[in-house]
Symmetry: none
Subunit: 224 residues, 4 copies
DNA sequence: CTCTAATCGAGACGGTACGTCGCGTCTTACG
DNA sequence: CGTAAGACGCGACGTACCGTCTCGATTAGAG
């Protein structure tokens, strides 16, 4: 690592940004309430540049100067939009994560599991390029962490009880498996593994690992 | 984890196991490469320093200068032992990984699954401090990657066939789950979750996710 | 340029700099059309520091770190102004060399030799401190080489013919003698040898060594 | 005092070594009173390597490691023979300097000037290869300085009086001119300028610059 | 014809300086 | 105000040589 003594959580997305859609308008770092069209343009250029670069190298190998140059924006201007490059990544990915979580979470308690997994896989497939960058590029660690963070928050309320596996661990395992499988999928050449196949794999792997046992327990408890 | 170069002095990590007596007899070409006692001392100091620092911060935030300083060794001397800090981490961890893999792999095809998981958990518990550093500290990513790499290599030969889940993906999921669970365990205060409980969790989560379905398939195929 | 061993002409001044007063405005190393007052200040500080250090030790014993420290400037900033310390020395001395050459060259073909030498000695005396540093400090070798280089260029056109001594050698000897004599003069305590005396010494030593014989030859040829 | 920067006179030859033939036996740096043939061989190899390298680059660009490698000798062994590379150069050149000085000095007061210059040129020509390395390679500065030093010592006693030019300066000019002329000669392709021509050039340039005027003065004084 | 002491090859080591790179701050000038 | 342009302090990077220092092997020359 180079000069990095300033960053505190380089492997995780910034958690200072509000991800709720309600706060989305104010989520940008230094954007004033008055949206200067130049600032908007710069922000867009930066996000696009980040995605472009992430296709080629991991986040840590991307320098802020590179991003700025690729965006056709002056180096110092970057900092008027984001404090760190992780923040920019956050800005790029937060929406996607939120939407995916809305599809991923129901997996934990949905009635129709297969439909849920299918929806998830379909959504990823529809944004395959983006998610390939986010999950197999340099942002993978950050994405996993953020995904886990959001999942934990939501899972607290609706989780099944399990006598052996704590909820926290169950979420970790579930998210981990999903991320691994989807990442593996995106690393395959396009078309080799269909959306349907991935959904079936997810169903077959994720479900029995944590959910099924809990369901059985509940049934056993209900039958008692 | 980058470098793969074999090192002569692997088992030097603080509380690790006894040396294999087989290494002592190889005097033929080892004469020229006889370890300079000063070099041995420096190497040990560097490994110890790395572990110490990993307890406090992730690998990327650790500077080579820091490691050298903590080891009481000159900065330039670091490079006489390792080209990068990842290489040092490798040196520190490779041994442990190999031993763990020897315990982890049988999980995939052993007859007595519970015994395997128990052995794994017991081994980790016996070196809890070390593994806590390796899995919950800054080395986590590298450890996971290396673990996966070694597992993939060995799994090629002995893996079960599965019509839906490719072997490669199965290994990814299995290793991923084990790492997640063990990491979670090590993040808990010591004593809260017993070795036995972890083994049971592993059994309950890992087994059904990928192995059980394959076993059932085999049985179905054999019954035909 | 990588670590040090790339330099080809470490003892010579850079010849990429335009020394003509006309180009003096744009001659600086990395100066853009807009002169940042901070950059100007840093450049001045570096030049002053170089002169200060040259009073004490030869150029090769002066480290860039020393120069930067003496200038109250960060080490890396040095390289934003000059690629090497020789370049800085060049920046310091180029003007002086040019001016001196304008006085030195006429010596070779001027009508009034004594006046030329007197002008030379007077000019040096007026900048005695600077020239003392440049000729008796660590920059001596570089100064001599640069002086010689410039002299050779100009001498090509206006040199006298000599049947025995090639023009190139004549210039070498002339410049060498002048440098030796002036250096010796500057090494003497101030006031011991007057400007007039030095001019007379120059006249007595330099003239007969190469010029007089050529003049005599010309006269002999003209008389034939 | 620690490493590296200990050298005080990097551009000058060591003056601690006794150059008289009488002390030649004990002049070597770390040689014991008994000359071990192995040490003799190493010393020769080092001297030869130094000369070889000096043909290609200046002294400052030659590293001790290079010399040792070129000599087929271990790096540390160098220091068992010489404290610095300047010392080795000294060892290589001291004899030659002494012999040359014995030929150069009489130039100042010999009766037959031409014979003296001819002897000088002849001697240099007979060791042309060696002197080419010493005067046009990286050792030039050191050679000039050492030559001057020795000359000054001897000149004190036998110098002519001159009302205008101090003896010290006269020696400087004389040695300087000789060195410049011989260096120029050695830079020419062999055979282009004959020994006789160089002797004549020396006679024509060196003599009038400092000696002739003094002679005339003496004659004028004698005639008075 | 040993035996002791030197010399050597090998290379680890602490140390200094190198020149590069990326960071984040700041200043200046422009529109 | 937002931007372009870029100087700057900062500090880690990895490299190169330096000169010192053990550490065996080898190999004289003295007993």
């Amino acid at each position: 690592m180079k000069s990095g003594q300033a960053k505190q959580n380089p492997g995780e997305l910034c958690d200072t940004v509000a991800h709720t859609p309600a706060a989305a308008a104010a989520s940008s770092f230094a954007t004033s309430n008055l949206a200067d069209p130049r600032a908007v343009k710069s922000g867009q250029a930066l996000r696009a540049a980040m995605l472009t670069l992430l296709e080629r190298k991991p986040l840590e190998q991307i320098t802020i100067r590179e991003i700025a140059a690729a965006a056709g924006v002056h180096y110092a201007t970057f900092f008027r939009h984001h404090p760190t490059k992780e923040s920019l990544l956050d800005d790029v990915a937060a929406d996607q994560i939120d939407r995916l979580v809305e599809l991923t979470l129901p997996v934990l308690d949905a009635v129709d599991w297969h439909a849920s997994f299918l929806a998830l896989a379909t959504y990823v497939d529809e944004h395959r390029k983006l998610w390939t960058v986010l999950l197999t590029g340099g942002a993978a660690g950050a994405m996993r962490a953020e995904l886990l963070r959001v999942s934990q928050q939501v899972a607290v309320n609706r989780a099944l009880q399990d006598n052996i596996i704590p909820v926290e661990l169950a979420v970790i395992c579930t998210v981990g498996l999903i991320v691994e499988i989807v990442s593996w999928w995106l690393r395959q050449p396009e078309g080799v593994v269909s959306v349907d196949q991935v959904a079936r794999i997810l169903h077959r792997v994720v479900l029995p690992s944590t959910v099924q046992s809990a369901l059985e327990e509940r049934e056993a408890g209900g039958a008692r």
